[in-house]
Symmetry: C2
Subunit: 407 residues, 2 copies
């Protein structure tokens, strides 16, 4: 697997663009398109929130019922959530406008939105934006970068990645763009992530791969515990790499899966590390767990703990908070028979063992806690299962960003 | 029911004291005693955290196995959690020292600790403190107040209450002291709450009452979602009011239950409103739910949402965050058929109905959001069940308090 330059439109036959549509602000890219020259199989995972934004409902239906997908139109500024019937009509009109401009069926168009909950989309600007996107879209990597910038909200950096992987002698490319954890008018921690590939892969196989990968990547991050109404992960495969079809149980499948996972784990970590106000990425690796599910529960509990997050912001090696968060996770274990470590770039510090703290050096611990990536390891001593979760520290800026009035 | 002056030692036969033992700081009350002249039946609820502090384990065992309880010794500064065997020994030695000074069996002594996780208790100072407590304890209300101050950590006010209720012609008194949400060296949101009564009531009846009351009071508050290793609620009844025994299914039971619930709901709301850094109490009342359990889940999800809490801090009527928090609570409902309100002291504002926002006045909403108590009402339109949960806003000070280094 090779990491290459480029992003979501790096795979053969994919085009992208990001433009200014003036949805809420002047002088800011706020609409993006992903377009494939050939029809794609698609697989997706959406928010588990009972309150689902209109684009989530539209995309779910299209991916389940349409014979193929060929484009995604995304806007920022307004989430199109809590918008009732009018919100669903906005999705349909967006798809119809894109259908006309791109020359593809309306049911091959997916839509995505992120922004404030409540207001309706300004459909005149959306339609003008689609015309601009159709004119601007191309395979150039600068266009992919524009698209990744156009989906940003309070993200401080755009997030794109592309890799090549050899499948049966052919080079297959996977490209992605994602946005995270915050909004200009903050409402939630919306995650949007789009992964395109030119691989030949069946819809069922892609779906299985998506489910497995999301469980260990995007579902293992948290910025503030608030599951948005709009969370969206979509994978598109247009088959233009011409490889022999990727089938489960083969070496090709494993190679593709590894590359696919790498792309998504990288994007997930970037989302966590660029959480609202974040100054550090927190990684919690749970090893020696009795079941995979418990390993996940324990690791997530640590990175979701407000007190642990605040302690990392304060560079405070306050291991009691980690132990406490493991304890209320819902997974059972024996606190008298386990170990906690802080791991830095240079060293690994045992801080708790078998019921009480060790006499570790607070100075060394503070040094580790001051790094840009703070790694916590919990060895449950119960079995061989592992899981890793990623979050960020809780800072003054998180409160500032989210207490600011919407206007 | 009458609210009277006084606190935990207001019921007949109860004595209290709060003194300086120098456990971690100079010039600060940090040890308290509750003592009953006669043996008490006791009922308790402790933290659900798998990691339980030594005092929690000690108290659980004494309440389950001892014939009666007659005193509680409480310290702040050190939580006696994550302290292994030595921590359990500290509980036993504390009980033995209290037994000697108070002239009661060691297995009639409960212990409570709140503070930093990890360090061992300084047993020499604890033992000196017990001597001082035994000398100082009395039925005076000023002594009850001292005790309520001695259990404070980052609480900004002490929290005590007492009520009289007439049971079969006799006046029964219930008194309580509680501490909340933060620590001098913060580690967790430890809740300690002690309720004493002179009522004649059987242990089984008291236990049932405690379980029912805690479910709707202390279990419906949250400051930061971190369930401490030390959370403790203990009720003691010494029978000195001489009423005929309170038995379930009678008018006396209902009268006592109402007073008991009032005392605990008041203390729980005070804990939430005095959460670390809090500037406002947030109350979320869910009505029209299909089941009581779902009403609780929905109400708690709203008051736990970091984004909702930050919006209240910013006086921002950002109802999308409330809808979002209801949506990810785990309870199912139809967002297209429900209503959300903000309720102020003077008015009630419908802000969301049947799938979209109403054209409410932002100005009026901001006014409600600026009060010291912010009330949110969600009408699920599914049934007749209700529940109320209490939390606080998320402020810069919460981050400041919890990012500060332990030293």
């Amino acid at each position: 697997m090779d990491i290459i330059t480029g992003g979501v439109n790096a795979p053969t036959g994919f085009e992208a663009a990001g433009i200014e549509a003036g949805i809420k602000y002047e002088n800011r890219k706020d609409m993006a398109v992903i377009f494939s020259q050939k029809p794609c199989v698609a697989a997706a995972v959406f928010t588990s929130n009972v309150v689902k934004a209109a684009p989530v409902k539209w995309d779910r239906k299209m991916i389940d019922e349409s014979p193929f997908v060929q484009a995604v139109i995304i806007n920022t500024g307004i989430a199109n959530a809590g918008t009732g019937e009018e919100g669903m009509r906005a999705c349909r009109e967006t798809a119809e406008a894109a259908s006309e401009c791109l020359g593809i069926p309306a049911n091959a168009v997916l839509v995505g939105s992120t922004g404030v909950i409540g207001p309706q989309l300004p459909m005149d600007r959306i339609k003008e934006g689609i015309k601009k996107l159709a004119a601007a879209k191309s395979h150039d990597s600068s266009n992919g970068t524009d698209a990744s910038k156009a989906i940003m909200t309070t993200d401080t950096v755009n997030k794109e990645i592309a890799v090549n992987v050899s499948i049966g002698g052919r080079t297959v490319t996977i490209g992605a763009m994602s946005k995270g954890s915050g909004m200009i008018h903050p409402n939630m921690c919306t995650m949007l992530s789009y992964v395109c590939t030119d691989a030949v892969i069946g819809k069922d196989t892609l779906e299985k791969l998506v489910r497995e990968t999301v469980t260990d990547t995007y579902n293992m991050i948290s910025v503030d515990g608030d599951t948005s109404t709009n969370d969206t992960f979509i994978a598109l495969a247009n088959g233009m790499a011409g490889n022999s079809e990727i089938v489960e149980g083969t070496a090709d499948y494993e190679a593709f899966k590894e590359a696919f996972r790498y792309v998504n784990e990288t994007q997930a970590k970037r989302l966590a590390g660029d959480g609202e106000g974040a100054q550090a990425l927190i990684e919690c690796r749970v090893v020696g767990a009795d079941t995979k599910e418990n390993a996940r529960i324990l690791a997530k509990s640590v990175i979701c703990s407000s007190l642990t997050k605040a302690a990392v912001f304060g560079h405070d090696a306050n291991w009691g908070r980690i132990l406490c968060a493991l304890g209320y996770s819902g997974a059972s274990f024996d606190p008298e028979h386990m170990e906690l470590y802080y791991e830095g770039d240079m060293n690994k510090l045992l801080i708790y063992r078998d019921g009480s703290g060790t006499d570790y050096s607070e100075e060394e611990a503070t040094k580790i806690l001051s790094e840009k990536e703070v790694r916590i390891i919990a060895d449950m001593k119960m079995g061989t299962e592992e899981a890793t979760a990623w979050g960020c520290d809780l800072t003054f800026d998180y409160v500032k960003i989210n207490a600011d009035y919407r206007s």
